[in-house]
């Protein structure tokens, strides 16, 4: 079926990849991070809610043609075409030279990769730079189906410990590891994003495990351009209210601590950057 479930299309997006981008938030996610700031994107169907007395919906089905049209509305702002060498970059300094484009986020974008592949092919014809933000918790075939159509990956890294991954996210870490390996072999440029959430991911054990994992990767792979540490925030709390769900409770990590975590991660050999949001 040619339909893609989208919760939001955010144009003039400046924080989801190089240049000026359109970020497409796809609905449906295979994990449920306790700190999630996009709870409306977890459930893979349209959600109704009431805003100031008006009935509204989160989610809309798009045909690939309509979605493509929306993405191409800002084609001129993406400022440039994707070039062959753009998906072979090995240096993080080159990121800022890439053209803008589209970023598929979520939820988990790869869950809809089959339906999305039509749009991706069309975008390739228009030479639009394509990025995906993924948790990698998706069937490997989904990744394989689209990996060659994607120019840039933002990959979440939360846990590498199987038990914690299962208990806190409801995810199978083996899926993650398998997909990670596939992605590494694809040689596509990757930025790893680690959410630093107090009480969930910021403990020494977890950071140590993530760091060891990345050290191993660093020995054999050079397509990871940098590691980004994302501070937790409560900007999505209003969405929980609208959905009638309980807001996640966690304190914000202080700057000093996140800098320390950054230093530990940097020991893996990758350049590390602390992002505010």
């Amino acid at each position: 079926m040619d339909k893609i479930l989208v919760s939001n299309i955010q144009r003039f997006s400046l924080h989801d990849g190089p240049g000026i981008r359109t970020t497409v938030f796809l609905k449906g996610c295979s994990v449920h991070c306790p700190w999630c700031c996009n709870p409306e994107n977890i459930f893979p169907d349209i959600l109704k809610y009431v805003d100031s007395g008006i009935q509204k919906e989160w989610g809309r089905w798009y045909s690939s043609e309509v979605l493509l049209k929306e993405i191409l509305k800002d084609r001129s702002f993406y400022s440039g075409d994707i070039q062959q060498e753009d998906f072979l970059i090995k240096d993080e300094g080159e990121i800022s030279h890439l053209p803008g484009g589209v970023t598929f986020s979520g939820g988990e974008a790869l869950l809809q990769s089959h339906a999305l592949s039509i749009v991706l092919r069309k975008l390739r014809e228009h030479r639009v730079h394509i990025a995906v933000e993924t948790s990698l918790f998706a069937p490997s075939n989904n990744l394989k189906e689209v990996q060659d159509l994607i120019d840039f990956f933002y990959v979440d890294l939360k846990y590498i410990n199987a038990k914690r991954c299962h208990r806190l996210l409801g995810g199978n870490v083996d899926w993650y590891k398998t997909n990670f390996e596939i992605l590494m072999e694809s040689c596509r440029p990757v930025v790893i994003r680690i959410p630093v959430i107090a009480g969930y991911t910021d403990d020494e054990d977890n950071i140590g495990e993530l760091s060891s994992f990345l050290s191993e990767v660093h020995k054999k792979r050079n397509n990871i351009l940098r590691i980004e540490l994302l501070k937790g925030h409560h900007l999505g709390d209003f969405k929980y209210e609208k959905l009638g769900q309980v807001k996640p409770v966690f304190p914000l990590t202080d700057d000093e601590q996140i800098e320390d975590i950054g230093k530990m991660i940097q020991e893996s050999g990758f350049h590390t950057l602390v992002c505010q949001i």
Binding site: Q10, R11, F12, L14, G19, I20, D51, S52, G53, I54, K73, D74, S76, F77, S79, S96, G100
Partner: protein
Amino acid sequence: MGRLKTFIKNDLWHVNYIIPFTAKYLQYGKIGYLKRALPVITKVRVIKGKGKRDVSTDILELMKRIHLGVIEGSSFFYWIDEYKTIAVKGNVLSNFCIDYGRLVNSTFNEIAGKAIGVGGIYGERAKNIKKAVNVLRDRVIETMQTECNDTNRSQLTILEMNNLLDKPAAHLHEGLQRILFFNQYMWQTRHGLNGLGRLDLILGDLYQKDLKAGIINKESAYAMILDFMNTLNHWYVFKSSSILGDIGQIVILGGLNPDGTYFSNELTYLFIKAQAESKKPDPKTFLRVSNNMPQELMEVAVEALKSKTGSPLFSNDEVVIPQLTQFGFTKEEACSYCVSACWEPFIPGRSLDQNNIKAFDFFRPLDSALTNADLSKIKTFDEVVSLYENALRTEWKTFLKELDSYIWACDPFVSMLTDGCNESRKDISQGGARYNNYGVTSIGMGSVVDSLFNIKKLVYEDCRFSLEELNNMRNHNYKNQDSVYTVLQRSNKSYAHDDQDVEDFVNRIIGLSNSVVKKYRNPLGGKVKFGLSSPFYIRDAKHVPGDFAGRKDGSPYSTHISCLDAPYTEVVNFAGSLDYSGNAFNGNVVDFFVSPSFIESNKDKFVQFMRAAGQIGYFQMQMNVMDSKTLIDAKAHPEKYPGLIVRVWGFSAYFNDLPEDYKDVLIERAIESEGAA
């Protein structure tokens, strides 16, 4: 009301001179107005010339009688006696700029001589103006000799004044001084909203010459320009037109040459930087941009936005110039365009063009059509549109007829600086200039478009109300209809969104307007131009009933080309899709709110955005770089923010000087834009 205004303007000329001195206080209410205006009114004196009454003899006498003084700390001479003026029949030309290039690079005596040579009353008046300028020049010299303690400064001014009449300016400082001298003359003789023109072009050769000769370096030139800008900021209240800050001293920078190359020079950069550093709302800068402008210049302009003075305003030559040529200006004239006080393209030295004489309201015809028609008989949306279009044609015709009543004050000085007047032996006020067009601005386009699209959905697609029901609720200002009002208020807006149906519809309204407007000729034989941005989106909306898109009775219209629920790229795409051809190019400004932190942390991407936006084809763009938190706090605690500057319509002003309703609109827009961004 219109007749009363015309009567005051045309027939009460012996006393109406007082209006420009007091109009800026109208914002303070009746008591506030009287409190502020009375002390001014009692001090202002009209100067009359000897012999038979004439504007030129009045001006000659005025120049003899004004008080002159010396501004401390400036290297320039500049003084305005705000309490001596002239009374003259008709509207004094304003909202434009004279061709300073002629005065800097040629000589005043030569210019005046040509006008005197015309003979007759025209020549006689020119002779008096020549005398008046001579008197002013001599009195400046005298003032510097007696009142300036700084000998070097005094000698420099005297040298520059000695050259003023019969030598072209020889140095950058002299060029700047000459512009100030004639700018002073303009303000003193009641011209308002005096633009400054393309100063980088006018002064570029003098700058290069001085640089080569080692007379100046980049740093001293910068200091000189900063001094020039600060000097012009004096008499801020006197110069303000309808609101404090509405001054119109706009410096035009950069721009396409007739051969398609882009003009800019080091002065372009220096003026942008000096304006930003001055941290003052006026003078302001206006950058003519093009696809082939230097990247560095756009970067400097974006950097200047961070100074939060509202400058520069960006004008897209790729779109503006073709519209000027298709209208009838030559390529060379089109490429020399400046603007009236805000954004209306104006060709200096060639035209009378009075570009902001009235505002057309696009929403009023919808209001009147729905009030006068039997709505129960309207069965389709197409019928509603047709009803609107008929009312729109009628409204335009009535509106244009009212423009016939304007008469202009005799202006021998501006005439001698404007092509066509000597040749036709006619004063500019009598249609002597090569071009004699009028310009009008417009309001309410967003309101009518959003209203019609809401009517289409709610009445004809969802069938939630009948047109009659909805209009009744509107007529009662949605009293006891909170839920319906909320639906209308929170409905997604259509205007300024890049939706093909919306774009087509707006172009249809523009096209229809063009079809009526293009037939009009004013009494001087000129045409009329219109644009989609206007200063009057608050003032003129105060007596207009509510719409169908969340605007209640008397509430402001949206600002220029803007909307509160679309990202910047979408608004630019929309602006780029509009048809500015025909007569629809009298300023079309996209107006954005941008938070300071947004520009601070995304400067490179913002530059990218501006370049791409230019290619898409917006007409003009201005930005308020401000966050809502600051504005809210400033409204509550004005004492904490004496220097807070905001962009209002086409000018910048101190936030504390604004009427409360203007403050509220700015706060509301800042909040909404933060949500959308």
